[in-house]
Subunit: 373 residues, 2 copies
C-alpha cells in the first residue's frame, strides 16, 4: 500500500493507493475517521457492486454503518439529490458525530462531499473512489458540489476529506469505455508535469484499458502524487492549481455545447489537443506537442470531427469568460510535461484565435495530422 499526503490549510490527509486496500476499510475508517456512525453513500449501480458490500464489511467489523443511495448518473448531481440525502441522514438520526463515506465515481464523490460539507455545518467525509476519474481526479483536492441549470459545479464547497482510499482493483468493474474516459485525466497529469509518466501511459495503454492491476496502480499512484503536489501548493485555485485546467477551457465549452452527451474525458482530450494547437500558433508551445497529444489520446477516445455547432461552443466559451472578466484564459504547455507560467499559470487568449482553432478542429477532427489534412 502506498500513501500520498495532501496538505490543506486545515491540516493534512492521506490518500492510500493499493490493489486490495479496500479489504482494510473498516480498520482505516476507525483509525483515520473515528465516528459514532458512518453514512455510506453510493449511486444505485455502485451500491450493488461496492457500496453495500463495503457497508456490510464495516458492520461486521463492529462499526455502526448504513447505506444511502441515489439514482446513477450525472443527472443526479443536483441540489435536489443533495436535499434528499441530507433529509434521509437527518431522518435516520445522524448527528455531528457522524462520518460520510462516499463510494463511487466523480458524481458520488462530489455529491456526497457536498452533503458532508453542509450537514450540520460540516461532518467528516472519507472518499472511496471506484472509477479511474474519481481516483485520479475527483476524490483528491477537496472540491465538492453539484450542477445547477446555469452550469456544472457552480454550487459547492471546499471540504477536504479525512482520508481517500483508492483500490485500483475496482476499475475491473468499470466498462472499458469509462476506463478510457477516466484515463484522459491521467494523460493530462503527464502532459502538464511529467513527460516520462505520459510516455509510460502511452506504452502501457493496452494493459490499462484491460484493467491490469499493476498498470492501474502505477497510473493511479502517479496521478494522485501529481494532483496532491498541485493542490497542496494551492488548495483554492488562486494560482498554481490552474495548471490542472489544461484542456478544460475548450473542453468545458464542448461539453456544454453537447448538453453533456460528450463524455468529460472525450471533451478534455479534444480540449488538450486544441489548446496545444493554440499554444503552437502563439509560439508558446513547442512544435509537435499537439501531434504527440493527438497520437496518444486517439488510443482512448474519438478525436474525429466533432458533430456539434461551433457557434454554440463559442457561446459557452464566452459565457465562461463573462463570469471571469476579460479574455478567455487558457493553460498553455511549454512542452510536453511542462506548463508555461504565463501570468498566474494561464494566458489570456484572443477570442478570434480560439474561434478559428475551434472551428477548424471541430470540422476536421484533431487526430494526428487531421488539421494538416
Amino acid at each position: 500500500m502506498n500513501e500520498v499526503r495532501v496538505r490543506t490549510r486545515e491540516g493534512e490527509y492521506p490518500v492510500l493507493v493499493g490493489v486490495g486496500v479496500l479489504a482494510d476499510l473498516p480498520r482505516l475508517l476507525a483509525e483515520h475517521a473515528p465516528a459514532r456512525r458512518y453514512a455510506f453513500i453510493s449511486d444505485d449501480n455502485v451500491a450493488a457492486l461496492h457500496g453495500h458490500p463495503l457497508m456490510e464489511g464495516a458492520r461486521d467489523a463492529g462499526l455502526d454503518a448504513s447505506l444511502f443511495t441515489f439514482p446513477a448518473g450525472e443527472a443526479s448531481k443536483t441540489r435536489t439529490s443533495w436535499s434528499i440525502l441530507t433529509d434521509e441522514l437527518l431522518e435516520a438520526g445522524f448527528g455531528r458525530d457522524s462520518c460520510v463515506v462516499a463510494v463511487g465515481g466523480g458524481v458520488t464523490t462530489d455529491l456526497a462531499g457536498f452533503v458532508a460539507a453542509t450537514f450540520l455545518r460540516g461532518v467528516p467525509v472519507v472518499q472511496v473512489p471506484t472509477s479511474y476519474l474519481a481516483m485520479i481526479d475527483a476524490s483528491v483536492g477537496g472540491k465538492a458540489g453539484v450542477d445547477v441549470p446555469a452550469g456544472k459545479n457552480l454550487v459547492g464547497a471546499f471540504h477536504a476529506p479525512r482520508l481517500v482510499v483508492a483500490d485500483p482493483d475496482v476499475v475491473r468493474t468499470l466498462p472499458r469505455q469509462e476506463r478510457a474516459q477516466g484515463l484522459v485525466e491521467a494523460f493530462k497529469h503527464g502532459a502538464i508535469l511529467d513527460a516520462a509518466y505520459f510516455g509510460r501511459l502511452h506504452d502501457g495503454l493496452g494493459a490499462l484499458l484491460a484493467a491490469d492491476p499493476h498498470g492501474a496502480e502505477d497510473a493511479v499512484l502517479r496521478s494522485v502524487e501529481i494532483k496532491a503536489e498541485v493542490v497542496s501548493e494551492d488548495e483554492r485555485e488562486g494560482g498554481y492549481r490552474q495548471v490542472l485546467n489544461f484542456g478544460h477551457t475548450l473542453g468545458h465549452a464542448l461539453e456544454a455545447a453537447s448538453e453533456y452527451r460528450l463524455g468529460h474525458g472525450s471533451a478534455v482530450a479534444l480540449g488538450m489537443v486544441l489548446e496545444a494547437e493554440v499554444g503552437e500558433r502563439l509560439g508558446v508551445t513547442e512544435g509537435g506537442t499537439r501531434a504527440r497529444l493527438a497520437g496518444s489520446l486517439s488510443g482512448l477516445v474519438d478525436l474525429g470531427p466533432v458533430p456539434l455547432d461551433p457557434e454554440t461552443t463559442l457561446h459557452y466559451l464566452r459565457a465562461d469568460k463573462k463570469a471571469r472578466a476579460g479574455r478567455p484564459r487558457v493553460v498553455l504547455l511549454r512542452t510536453l510535461g511542462e506548463v508555461d507560467p504565463g501570468s498566474g499559470w494561464s494566458h489570456g487568449v484572443d477570442e478570434a484565435l480560439l474561434a478559428e482553432v475551434l472551428r477548424e478542429g471541430m470540422h476536421r477532427g484533431v487526430r494526428a495530422g487531421a488539421v494538416e489534412a
Copy 2:
C-alpha cells in the same frame, strides 16, 4: 467607531461598531472586500429601509452593485430561497470575483452567508446586520445556513465574513418588540461572562428598548466583544463555544414545540431561567441566580405560563438528544457572569430532572417568584 477583531483559522476579520458607520460602507467595502461586483441581499422589508439605499450608495461611490431580495420572514430561510438567490446571481453573471453583502436580520445574515459560502464554491461575504439579534449574535462567528423540515439550521457552513459593519442607529427602524427579542441575547452574554454588563443592561433597559443610540452602541459593542472572544477561542463549537448555548437546550425545544410561533428571544429567556433552576437544584448554580435572571428578563419578554404542551417540548428535547448521543447537555452557570466548566463547558443532565423543571415552569410561568408561588 470601534473595531473588534475575530480570529478564525483562515485569518482575522474586523467587526466595526459605531453610530453612523454605515455612511462609510462603500469605502469599507472597497478597503476590506475589494471585488469586481457586489451582490447586496436583503429581505423585501429591509430592502426598502436599508438594502436599496445602501446599494445605491455603493453605486454612487463607483462600485458595481446590485440588489437581490427575498420575502421577509423565517419561512424564507430555506434551501429553496438559497437556490433561487444563487440562480439569480448566476443569471446576472456574477463570478468568482464577486462579494455578497448581507443587509438584514438573522435570517438574512444566515441565508446570504450560505449563498456566499457555496456560490462557485465560496465567495467573500460582508455582514451588515440591521437587528439587535443579528448585530450581537448572528452576524459574528461565521455560522451560515438554512432550516430544513427536520429542524432549524441543520444545513449550512462555517464561512467567516470579511467584515461586519454594525450601526446601532439602525435599531431605531425595528419594532420595539423585536428590539426586546434581540436584547435577550445581550443579557445572555452578560449572564455567561460579564455580571457588570448584565447590570448595565438591566439598569439601562428603558433606553435600550427606546433605541437610544448611546445605550445601543454600548450593548452592541460589549456583546460583540464577548462573542468575538468566545468564537476566536473556539470557532467550530468543539468546546468553549458551547457557553453561548446557555438557555438554548430548553429554549430550542420550546421554540420547536411552538412551531416557531414563540420568538427566539422569548424562548431563550425562558430557557435561561429554567436552566438556572436546573443548575440550582443540582447545586451547581448559586442560589438566587434564577431569580435575578427572571427579574431582569421579565422586563423584556413574557415569562408567564407557557401555553404549550410540555410533552411535545420533551419530545423535541429528546430529538435533540438523539442526534448527539447520551443525556441532554445543558450549559449551567456557576453564578451570574460565570459558566461552570462542567465537562466541555456543559453538563449531561438527567431527562427526568429536565422534565420536572420544564413541566413546573411551563405550568406556573417563570417570573421571579412564580415557581415558589
